[in-house]
């Protein structure tokens, strides 16, 4: 396949960026999207140009490093996958593909397609944990039975990979899906109930401080989420937040 790529280039956080056109030929439909970018970078490098910087690591859809807004959609046109799992067979010969970084005030661009998502980490620092020390003598794991349905729902929420697609998809750049996934995981488990009140208050406070927008229930985040994290989590977080606020 022969393609035209329109890629966001920005040399660092302080410089202005712009879209640059690149032609790339002989792309195999079996390539992953990032294999294709590797190929482009090899070509740029051989021409003495600087390769396009992008985040990636595991290349199997679990580390959450890769991002990319592809033709306006986080992780591209396919559903329930990350960019590294997107394959070129999704595109047609002659296509033009726009490749941009995830856009949000809370995700400033570092270079080209690489953004700073440390705001997500800071939200987790504020409350994304259960306060239990490593001791080697916590109670036996089976002494805390958990209803299978709750355990499975908590697991589904816990599969969030922290990539930021929800924020990039949202017109308000809201991080509600990300935050609610962690709040839900712990709210659904007996171990997590103990600090549920403080957790939701602290995490929401940090989320607001980071400059993420509010949720207006468009549901774009759920559609673009590579792990299919459900909007129900946002509803659950709102309930948790309301009851926590009432407790004062």
């Amino acid at each position: 396949m022969n393609l035209t790529l329109k890629i966001w280039r920005q040399s660092d956080a302080d410089k202005k960026g712009k879209i640059v056109d690149y032609k790339i030929n002989d792309v195999s439909p079996d390539m992953s999207f990032l294999d294709m970018l590797d190929m482009l970078n090899e070509q740029l490098n051989n021409k003495g140009e600087e390769p396009v910087a992008f985040d990636h690591d595991c290349r199997e859809g679990i580390c959450g490093s890769c991002s990319l807004q592809i033709n306006g959609e986080p992780h591209g046109p396919d559903r329930l996958i990350t960019t590294c799992q997107l394959h070129m067979r999704t595109f047609k010969d002659g296509d033009t593909i726009f490749i941009e970084p995830f856009r949000a005030n809370a995700f400033p661009v570092i270079k080209d397609l690489v953004v700073d998502r440390s705001s997500f980490d800071r939200i987790q620092h504020a409350g994304g944990f259960i306060s239990v020390n490593t001791s080697g003598n916590t109670i036996d794991a089976n002494a805390i039975p958990v209803n299978k349905h709750d355990a499975d729902t908590a697991f589904d929420a816990a599969t969030c990979i922290g990539c930021g697609a929800c924020v990039a998809a949202c017109k308000n750049a809201s991080a509600m899906l990300f935050v609610s996934a962690k709040v839900s995981q712990f709210a659904l488990l007996p171990q997590g109930r103990v600090e549920a009140t403080d957790r939701v208050m602290n995490m929401v406070r940090q989320m607001d401080e980071e400059g993420f927008g509010n949720c207006t229930n468009t549901g774009a985040c759920e559609i673009e989420c590579p792990k299919g994290i459900s909007l129900e989590n946002i509803a659950r977080m709102n309930r948790e937040y309301l009851s926590a606020s009432m407790k004062g």
Partner: protein
Amino acid sequence: MATLDSKIPEGSVSEKWTHHKNKINLVNPANKRNIDVIVVGTGLAGGSAAATLAELGYNVKAFCFQDSPRRAHSIAAQGGINAAKNYQGDGDSTYRLFYDTVKGGDYRSREANVYRLAEVSANIIDQCVAQGVPFAREYGGLLDNRSFGGVLVSRTFYAKGQTGQQLLLGAYSAMNRQIGRGKIKMYNRHEMLDLVIVDGKARGIIARNLITGAIERHSAHAVVLGTGGYGNVFFLSTNAMGSNVTAAWKIHKKGAYFANPCYTQIHPTCIPVSGDHQSKLTLMSESLRNDGRIWVPAKLEDAKAIREGKLKPTDLKEEDRDYYLERRYPSFGNLVPRDVASRAAKERCDAGFGVNKTGEAVYLDFAAAIERYGKEQARVKHLDENDAKLVKKLGTEVVANKYGNLFQMYEKIVDQNPYETPMMIYPAVHYTMGGIWVDYNLMTTIEGCYAIGEANFSDHGANRLGASALMQGLADGYFVLPYTIGDYLSKDIRTGKISTDLPEFEAAEKNVRSQIEHLMNSKGSKTVDYFHKRLGKIMWDKVGMARNEKGLNEAITEIAALRDEFYKDVRVPGTENGLNQELEKALRVADFLELGELFAKDALHRNESCGGHFREEYQTEDGEALRDDENFAYVAAWEYKGKPSEAILHKEELQFDNVKLVTRSYK
């Protein structure tokens, strides 16, 4: 020169750890506040160690090259984590887990370390559940287990196909709590490029800030490496793109011995290579072998027809299929250990029975499991178990529930539906059992420098059993290192802050700067990947699944020549001031080019076959590995002497007091 003292405590194997813990020195909580510890790497080992050390009261500085500690490659582990809980009442025990691990490692691991690992395994599950890790559960609300290769019990705890993710997020959450309290200072997007030794003790590191390019000095009273394995020396592996040997190699060059570099795990169930554009291979969890049956066509002409696309696997009748693992190993069948399964796949493909275009693939078939589960469900639901269509539908649901995400991953990559047609798999580099030599306290041959998790060599011998990597990472980080490091740090309570103005820091920084300068100024004609791919090809062809003397000698010469060429002709675009991913790669590949040579040298010296190390000259008549316990029951620990070819071999003889050395059989 440091001597190889493994510091194994006295006493019977089951009492060593308890006695050791009772005897070692502790640091008073008030003094811990005055002690700094650097932890490099934030996977299961590094992350859990950083969190636990901070909980204990030490000041921790944690480093990772990723943009967040949550992205360390432990996240990609799929299948599960072993623990001797015996929740299934199927005869499991600490001893049995210990025994299985020593046997699975082909009798090349240290008994005392393995026993300790088995001993603390149960605590890991308790700890993780307390942290809110959502393990799979049964309807009664208790934890579920499954079985992995090389064992006859169900001791593997899991969270669908994302166990590594859930455990790592557990360790990450424990870290977050300490970061929030200010007890861990987190340095994301930082890469360790050298170790600083002051008066014979590890006292700090030199790290590059990957965003600004700044070279930074960081001091501490001890340095812990949880930096993972070096499988990417093969270029193509299931490791993440960024996984590298650099931190481990830098400490090796500063005096830490590197043990058994040739012990590499080639995982039997990976998605086969599809073309030369690939930079990464994808694993299909070993848990699939619980239900999948591995086969190739029994007749060469059928294999040929399948490769040419004239025949479909589903067209082949039962009697025309060769379920070679079930045939060769009736007692373990499809659940033989990884090294055995990988070699058996290679043997069939080399004999011409491979099934994809390249001839390097075998089938992993779920049709029998779908039928078996379907019939069971039909009976449970009082439906007609002879209705083939219904049975298939019900069976597919069960399989999807167990392995859904893996099947989806496969379909996305290969563009075939594995519920309808068997998966194609082939072995790929996955894990490295070798690593930095450590004593019982996990200290390297450099005082105050520790290595934990995959980065060290200690627990898996020549082959690691499935679901044991997660166990080891967390055992080291949560339960072993935090104790043993206290013994060392108890001598440092009056030392005070280590100054980064010391001449040793200055020298190490200068060293790093000059290496970077050299690479930036080389302005050659080839990219970093060009060299990395060539290195990978040499490694795979000559130091891969089967090795021989001739090939290994060639590999040693070729890698040394390639390294020279790299320094003369590599081109790194851009500048060193700022984000430069090509420079990051160049620094890593430079170290792989040295490690690769030592790796081949180690494989050449080990004149036996054991676990993941298979020398063609040393095999039984029916092609099984032929160990030589008389001459090679030792750990090969290499000391750096200027270049890999001049490395000096030190031997740690392995004592087996509790397990009898026998030929490993899974027949």
